[in-house]
Symmetry: C2
Subunit: 189 residues, 2 copies
DNA sequence: GCTTAATGTATCCAGTGGATACATAACCGA
DNA sequence: TCGGTTATGTATCCACTGGATACATTAAGC
């Protein structure tokens, strides 16, 4: 975030995003509140408005951060199976953050360049791992979108409790099986 | 439920769900508020608590209503393509309601029998249209879940503005294309 | 018909996002 | 070195929210 000189609080904007991520992770069920965040930062809640126009803007920054973290988690994957497994692992480990990242309105992403850029970064990583190398751009994009839709939709239905799984089934395995990526178990940690 | 005799307001519980659906459809962006609903019903907001333990309980009833409506919209479909097209049409026509239906927590569905029943009703309809008639139960369930995940995930990414579509592409067509249900064909890779 | 439980109202509360007005400290040009 | 401009933070206030408590009303059941 460029060199914002240290002030009262140092770099409140960055600290706010950090702490918000922690706060959301600590209790994914509880709704996110500006005032709870401000209190944790030891600052008047109104101070946050010097860095974020609105609560939604702050959450957009949190989402961008989350998406970048996701991209980092996905980058090492060498094949579709481990890629999707890493995606599911992230979403299940950070349910609150994943919600902030994905349950946004159209404009909140496309009207917010850093967020749009973060999303495109993930798509770029996915293209490298999920798409058929030789194919033309449109086909590759569709391959990626298809798998993304599958895994994202599966996670969403799972979170909502709508999926009927075999009682003993592990969600991630079942999802990959359904997605048609079952196959031999590689080196997934 | 059943025959609650007419009272001051008649059947407030049913009227509340009706009006809530209308309210949410009227402005899908605006957050849903008990007090706005009560005002529309010409009733003290506290009166709603005689019929719904909490705001979430009311929204669960709204979700159940929405899911039933969805099931009705899907029932006439004779093949996977028209089934999925009807599903997408519903989600795009009722974005607010679709959000209430799907963006719930696990317990809110599985701890609420009418909701669970409504979901299972949709699954039953889907099994009749999307699954291969001869196959065994587990396979059929997975076929349904796969398509549901695809279409639900696609809608979610689209709502969030994350999908990169060809500029001229109609979302529904593109989704069916990506899902591998283009015009005349149907298969499972 | 009278009691009783169901339903609705009036009022209060703490918590929320946001606005306005003001205080403070850092930076920059003189 | 200084002094003012500007970024940052605080103090208060507001309308609104979901929910709780206390009370009024009316429909049903004995």
């Amino acid at each position: 975030m460029a060199r914002r000189g240290a002030y009262h609080h140092g770099d409140l904007a960055a600290a706010a995003v950090d702490e918000a991520v922690r706060l959301i992770a600590a209790d994914p069920e509880a709704g996110f509140s500006l005032r709870a965040l401000a209190e944790r930062l030891g600052v008047a809640h109104r101070a946050l408005y010097n860095h974020f126009e609105t609560r939604e803007a702050l959450l957009a920054a949190v989402a961008a951060r989350g998406i970048d973290t996701l991209a980092e988690a996905l980058a090492p994957a060498a094949d579709p199976r481990s890629f999707l497994a890493a995606y599911v692992r992230f979403a299940l480990a950070q349910p609150g953050l994943y919600g902030v990242m994905t349950q946004r309105r159209y404009d909140q992403i496309n009207g917010h360049p850093p967020l749009r850029a973060a999303v495109d970064r993930v798509i770029a990583v996915a293209l490298g791992t999920l798409a058929t190398p030789g194919a033309d751009a449109d086909t590759r994009r569709r391959e990626v979108m298809r798998l993304w839709m599958l895994v994202h939709g599966g996670i969403g239905l799972h979170r909502a409790g709508m999926l009927r799984l075999r009682p003993d089934a592990e969600f991630a395995d079942e999802l990959l099986l359904i997605a048609g990526i079952a196959a031999a178990q590689e080196n997934t940690p």
